[in-house]
Amino acid sequence: MAASRQVIPGFHFTLGITFFYLSLILLLPLAAFLLYASGMGLTKFLEVVIDPRVFHAYEVSFGTSLAAALINGVFGLLLAWVLVRYDFPGKRVLDGLIDLPFALPTAVAGIALTTLYAENGWLGQFFYGLGIPSAFSVFGITIALIFVGIPFVARSVQPVLRDLDPSLEEAAVMFGASPWLTFRRVVFPELVSPLLTGFALAFARGIGEYGSVVFIAGNLPYETEIAPLLIMAKLEQFDYQAAAAIAIVMMAMSFAILLALNGYQRYRSKKQGV
């Protein structure tokens, strides 16, 4: 590392702190995990990973996270649009409220949503009346994941929408384009990238989410068991190898989502650069 070329002092000092801290907090635990996991052998790994109960938990985690991220994509776009483009009473409060899922501990969200959507809950009695079991079901898990993911899409679309050059839209309207056509052809293409970013972040967060889901899930094997919960279950049985194997698959899922996002953004910036 060519520290001699650095004009500003403090390179070695900040490098030292950063490296020491990352080693202690991130690299050492990660290494311990990988070391332990590598000791279990491929047979044991596969045995755990393709166990039907475990496989079903991945499906639940993946499916509910995907559904919640898609729903948040729609509502996040709507929220960003309304907050950037319109003025109305209470707008500032609404804007501040969007970050609530970041600030509210997930366990609190979890017990509140469970009570709300349980059979005799304020919203649950309505859903159960329609024949939809809204708690202790895949539906309930999705509700919890929507709650957790609300800020991601809204907050990544909002600044892009705010900084959009209005002259393009004005030109489109001047040439007689309908508002819908203007939105679809002029505004929306600019929002695809932040929309996907928010979507991927919400998706990845959903797969790993535990606190808000564990109460409302009901945790029935083969039905409403999510992958993080299964890790907890394996830990309680002192089956650390199985816990590690499930963790590896979960990490692979999250990395795949974030890598796909990264790849897409690189492709896009390259295309725009030319």
Binding site: F13, L94, L116, G208
Partner: protein, 274 residues
């Protein structure tokens, strides 16, 4: 840019408001209503009960320690990433973002594997009577892991936009690293820093999954406030669970208000600078 509002605009505003009311406000109202369901006396008793007070103390301890150490790390790593050019910069940035892709439950597992019974260093820890996992240090480490990217993430874009010119000029005039940081860098990033600290605090006090794995759930010893809520809830002591949850709701609302104040001040500061 403001548009003239038609029926469509009002419809969109209405949907956005309804969505946030049902998804975000209703759970908060429910927490308050359930907490006070049996009157003030029961409420006060629930939050002043010794285990609740101890859990609050541990939550505050873990949060304060995590925020302080993550602030130091955030400042050092953001300074390193933005003020110096060196090989491996991108890799370092990716490492810092890693906790976003890792489920908190898996993060907890990392620490169990580093310090728990299956760890190569466990015999040493045992001989020295050092308890990390299923004890307070493990809770603090897990909290630090989950929250360490937040401050770096807030600082890097701001410091990047600021560039290196001011620091380089100060260095040319012979200012020391500390002087440069104190008088040149810090005034430029104070709002972003405060913002990052607020986000980090919010996540730290509410962390559930990671802490749940490493805590071992020892009442009065290793239970944080979110874990205490889980225990009360699982014992069907709903009123007490929601009473304790209401403390976290109040903290979350305070954090949201602070966050918005900081954002507002930062924007006003920018306008004055222009």
């Amino acid at each position: 840019m403001q548009q003239k509002k038609g029926v469509l605009a009002w419809a969109l505003i209405l949907i956005a408001v309804l969505f946030l009311l049902v998804m975000l406000v209703l759970p908060l109202v429910l927490v308050a209503s359930e907490a006070l369901a049996k009157g003030w006396q029961v409420y006060v008793k629930a939050i002043t009960e010794p285990f609740a007070v101890k859990a609050l103390a541990l939550t505050l301890e873990a949060t304060v320690l995590a925020v302080i150490s993550n602030t130091l790390f955030g400042l050092a790593s953001a300074f390193l990433l933005t003020k110096f050019a060196f090989r491996g910069e991108a890799l370092l940035g990716a490492c810092i973002d890693l906790p976003f892709a890792i489920s908190p439950v898996v993060a907890g597992l990392f620490f169990v594997m580093l310090f728990g019974r299956m760890s190569p260093i466990y015999p040493f820890l045992r001989a020295e009577h050092i308890a990390i996992v299923f004890a307070v240090p493990g809770i603090i480490l897990a909290t630090v892991f989950v929250t360490f990217p937040f401050i770096t993430r807030e600082l890097v874009p701001v410091m990047e936009a600021q560039g290196r010119d001011e620091e380089e000029a100060a260095a040319t005039f012979g200012a020391s690293g500390w002087q440069i940081f104190r008088h040149v860098t810090l005034p430029n990033i104070k709002w972003a820093l405060l913002y990052g600290v607020i986000l980090c605090t919010a996540r730290a006090m509410g962390e559930f999954g990671a802490v749940s794995v490493v805590s071992g759930h020892v009442r009065g010893k290793t239970n944080t406030l979110p874990l205490h809520i889980e225990i009360l809830y699982n014992e069907y002591n709903f009123t007490a669970a929601f009473a304790v949850a209401s403390i976290l709701v109040i903290l979350a609302i305070v954090i949201l208000i602070l966050r918005n104040l900081v954002e507002w001040r930062a924007k006003r500061g920018l306008k004055h600078a222009d």
